[in-house]
Amino acid sequence: MEFFNSYILTLLILTPVVGALVLALLNKEKAETLRRTAFGFGLLTFVFSLHLVARFSSGQSGFQFAENHAWIPAYGIRYHVGVDGISLWLVILATFLTVVSILASWKGIEKRVKEFFIFILLLEAGMIGVFLSLDLFLFYVFWEVMLVPMYFLIGIWGHGRRIYAAVKFIIYTAVGSALMLVAILSLYFLNARATGVYTFDFPIWLNNIASNRLWIDPHIQNWLFLAFFASFAIKVPIFPLHTWLPDAHTEAPTAGSVLLAGVLLKMGTYGLLRFNVQLFPEATRTFTPFIITLAIIGIIYGALVAMVQPDLKRMVAYSSVSHLGFVVLGIFVFNMQGVEGAIYQMLNHGISTGGLFLIVGMIYERRHTREIAEFGGLATPMPRLATCFMIITLSSIGLPLLNGFVGEFLILVGGFGASIARAKLYTSLAATGVVWGAVYMLWMYQRVMLGEVTHEANKSLPDLSGREKWVLVPLILLALWMGIYPQFFLRKMDASVSRLLNPPIVMMVQK
Amino acid sequence: MMTFDQILFYALAVIAVLSAIMVITRRNPVHSALFLITTLFCVAGIYLQLHAEFLAAVQVIVYVGGIMVLFLFVIMLVNLETLSQERRFNRQWHIAILVSVVLLVEFGTIIWRGKAALQLPANQPLMDTLTTNNSEQLGVVLYQQYMLPFEIASFLLLVAIIGAVILAKRRLSSDGK
């Protein structure tokens, strides 16, 4: 157990990698064995991640389970990982959704099964690594590593214009992360010049900033902020950098869409919260009105565009733009409710949008089309699927007692109480997004599920299979749990979030 | 006022450059070869002005005497008819001239504008030209001061010979087919 406690994070990153290696050695013809192995490793990682929840001590604001080893000592690059209240649930989300997406790909992926699961597991390792890294160099490495498996998932197993979507995805994100690399390196040298210590270590940087040992000129801070922001904003995506997202989401296979929407987008918001806000406090203040404006445009624009989409999956994709706008808003209102709401909404979005993509995937597997006009009255042949769909739709809209409500409510409360100019106006505008969300989701549900069966092909569609139930039921249970008893989740965030909002004053140390 | 030495130098230099231009613009290879000989002669003349008599002699004997004669042999053996028919320049020569003129102007302005800072090293006597033997000096420089480059040059010659053999073999094998 002692070993487990001290190396759990490394274990979390390595288990999927080992799984990928094991898969690589298996015979590619035995699809069933491959699926089971992949599932086994996914589940194992998830179980390990639950250990984090069990042993996480809620009162502590710092990083827990930290591991800190020299990697490239010549330049102060370290393997430093740790988890706090902000990243804890995101890690769980990543491991959980990986298991779900492996299950969801059982039938849908027929060709090149082996490679598919290898890429899924590698992607998982990358995602976990991003949330855990506390060394900016390490963070960047994981950030980039993740691109490659996602690229292949979209490019090989996607639909229609998959290669176009994959290339667009990788170029957009690569441009963003390239700028981030420049900013990371600049900070590295700024820190070294100010303190004489060459390090990429995030907690050390934070300490130096808090104690004023590292003082960054506001002008430079603005540029660095923008470089980080470019990378994260593309990932989120914040309007107007969102144009890669509908393509990538729509063309990706179901598992890819689930992980993309469920976890990858959260890396953007996580990055904003963890790095932008904490490293550049002055610049954050400067850019807050601008970012909030973009977030609100994103909320409304995403909702309006989602409303007119004829393609089911594209609609869900645009709804992501809208929901992520809420998250960004929550982060930048800067109070306890807003930030916790934002983190909570990240989890909600992972579950509800992940669920929506899963259901769209299931319908697609049956009908091989995603045109809303092709459907209608699907509830008649598939009552169980319709029920699940309803619950997840409601969770996405933010109905009380379901998870979405808690997140949106917290963000809006945070927004009204925020100490920024015109907070009430901003928040009211954002609140209309909730209404729009309800409109397009319910309208979509009505057109797809309710009414008479209009198409002959839809009459004999089979209902949920056993495996599909196993995919959806945990999601629905989680949505209920998070909606009814949010305190369980929020409690573990409290300490870290309040530390983030009120950084402890470190005494100035004279050199 | 220019001294006779300077006049001679400029005359030789101008002739050398002009005939070098002629070398690459003549259609007839024999003419090119003859102009090349003129250039080499002018350079030998400049060597003489620098009191490098031995070098001047070597220049004339080796380049003008040996290599150029070889050149002319080759030219006469190759089919001249087809050579003079082929286009000698591709269509980019306009651009080439443009670039050259721009460069020339550029260098000219750099030197002109920086005239104030232009400062050449004081005229050093070219060793004891009158007391020591000219070829002896060359020997010292070549075999002592620059011994290593001289040795490396022997490898360069080896490579050149290998290259020549490969080229020669190529002709044989393509004739054989």
Binding site: W71, I72, P73, A74, Y75, Y140, V141, E144, V145, L147, V148, Y151, F152, G155, I156, R162, I163, V167, I170, I171, A174, V175, S177, A178, L179, L181, V182, L185, S186, Y188, F189, W223 | I111, W112, R113, G114, A117, L118, Q119, L120, P121, Q144, Q145, Y146, M147, L148, P149, I152, A153, F155, L156, V159, A160, I162, G163, I166, K169, R170, S173, S174
Partner: protein, 485 residues
């Protein structure tokens, strides 16, 4: 026998080169006695020569000799020794892949290996030389060997044409270089770079002659590394040359030319830094951008890699512009990395040369994942490394170069460079698309000889190892910092 011009340990300093020369001639002589079927022994002889030279070099590194020799014509410091190791590694890998390729082309002769070894000697002197005459002769030795090797396929028109172009432009650039050298000699009265640096420092800052000398030197040297606007020869030469030779000239001579540039600019022309940094910055931006943008539209893998190598030359110039410890270490480690990843990818291109198929179109790789899954995965690793994606070695190299310019506050350059790196993903991944996402067009598998397999194994292991655990390699590359002494 000994005097100030020739010391006993002078011979010891150039011991590796003497061994190489011995083996170069040995290969040619042994070749005479070999039957057609036994020509592969030539490669073996050459490899033994390289092994001996590497051992001699290792001894040289560990014995603390007075490493300046031949009346200060050469300086075999740890900078030079580091680069010589890189050349030896690259050359050994190239020889490994050459034997089978040459026998397919029907040109399996000993002089090929002799020329490679002789150009290796030239490169070694290029990094050792501290005297302009030595440097120039060494450069020519390398270059002339290259010209011949590029045209080595006697019956192949493209190879001949490439050699001709390469030779003419190469000779022209050497002339320009020589002009620059003569100007430097004219204003400083010495060919020793250290003396030149002293004299230049004494001269007024905007000395026009010095400026012209810098411009001409830069032009001549940029040609050798394929910097824009002196890059036009490069794609033609890379495409036309025998693939193994392209492998060779894309790595070792490029590294040698860069080492030469470092020596000249950091040691000799340091006093004129303010005038060459802006010039090189412009060249660097042009080289990266043009290389990457042109690479996007290529359909021939050799040309694509040629343009990518132009772009890489641009990244490398960043290290020179920064001119600090990060930059020099960056260039040094980049070439070590580049040796492995570039030779790796070219080895695969060589292996695609089959009896009846040239195999140099990107389309020829269609569906490679079905035919040769191992090769496809290797190709992916090398492409990722070229693109600079962690955890491959290429990332470490790029990281250093980008970091170096950020340290010297060249932020604009850094941003342009990273954006270029992002653009380059586009064409590297185009190859990936063809390999992994298109259907196969033919059934023919690759020709993988033992030599090719060895080369692939070595390059793969190091491409990943340097990426994951770079520490020892960085320490190794820091040897190059002796340049500043």
């Amino acid at each position: 026998m000994f005097n100030q011009y020739f010391q006993p340990n002078d011979i010891l300093i150039i011991y590796p080169e003497l061994l190489l020369a011995l083996f170069a001639m040995g290969v040619m002589i042994i070749d005479l006695f070999l039957d057609r079927a036994w020509k592969v022994l030539n490669a073996f002889t050459a490899l033994v020569g390289i092994a001996y030279a590497a051992y001699a070099l290792y001894r040289l590194k560990s014995n603390a000799l007075n490493l300046s020799g031949y009346n200060h014509a050469i300086l075999n410091d740890s900078f030079a020794i580091y680069f010589q190791f890189v050349f030896l590694i690259a050359t050994a890998l190239v020889i490994l892949i050459s034997a089978r390729y040459l026998s397919i082309e029907g040109e399996n002769r000993g002089d090929y290996y002799a020329l490679i070894l002789l150009s290796l000697i030239g490169m070694n002197f290029m990094v050792m030389g501290i005297d302009l005459i030595t440097l120039y002769i060494a450069l020519e030795l390398m270059a002339v060997s290259e010209y011949i090797l590029v045209g080595y396929l006697r019956t192949n028109r493209q190879s001949n044409e490439a050699a001709m172009k390469f030779f003419l432009l190469g000779a022209f650039s050497s002339g320009i270089l020589l002009y620059g050298i003569s100007l430097l000699y004219g204003i400083s009265g010495s060919t020793d770079l250290r003396v030149i640096a002293q004299r230049l420092a004494e001269r007024p800052s905007h000395d026009p002659i010095a400026l012209v000398a810098v411009v001409t030197l830069t032009a001549g040297l940029l040609f050798k590394i394929g910097g824009v606007p002196f890059h036009q020869w490069l794609p033609d030469a890379y495409e036309g040359a025998p693939s193994t030779i392209t492998t060779f000239i894309s790595v070792a001579p490029k590294a040698a030319s860069f080492a030469l540039i470092l020596r000249i600019f950091i040691v000799g022309l340091k006093p004129l830094e303010t005038s060459w940094v802006p010039v090189l910055s412009v060249v660097c931006v042009l080289t990266m951008t043009l290389g990457n943008i042109t690479a996007i539209s290529q359909s021939n893998i050799k040309r694509l890699l040629a343009y990518s190598s132009i772009a890489h030359a641009g990244y490398l110039l960043l290290g020179l512009i920064a001119g600090n410890e990060y930059g020099i270490t960056g260039i040094a480690i980049y070439f070590l990395v580049y040796a492995f990843m570039n030779i790796g990818i070219w080895t695969l291109v060589v292996a695609m040369r089959r009896k009846d198929l040239i195999g140099d179109q990107i389309q020829d790789m269609a569906g490679m994942i079905y035919k040769n899954p191992g090769a496809a995965v290797l190709m992916l690793v090398f492409l990722l490394s070229l693109a600079g994606i962690p955890p491959t070695a290429g990332f470490i190299g790029k990281y250093y170069l980008f970091a170096s310019v950020i340290q010297t506050h060249h932020y604009v350059l850094a941003v342009i460079a990273v954006l270029n790196a992002a653009i380059s993903l586009y064409y590297y991944f185009r190859v990936v698309v063809v390999m992994f996402m298109s259907e196969k067009t033919d059934e023919e598998k690759m020709t993988l000889s033992p030599g090719v397999l060895t080369s692939l194994a070595v390059t793969l292991v190091f491409t990943l190892l340097i990426g994951i655990y770079p520490e020892p390699f960085i320490r190794f590359a820091q040897n190059s910092l002796s340049l500043f002494q």
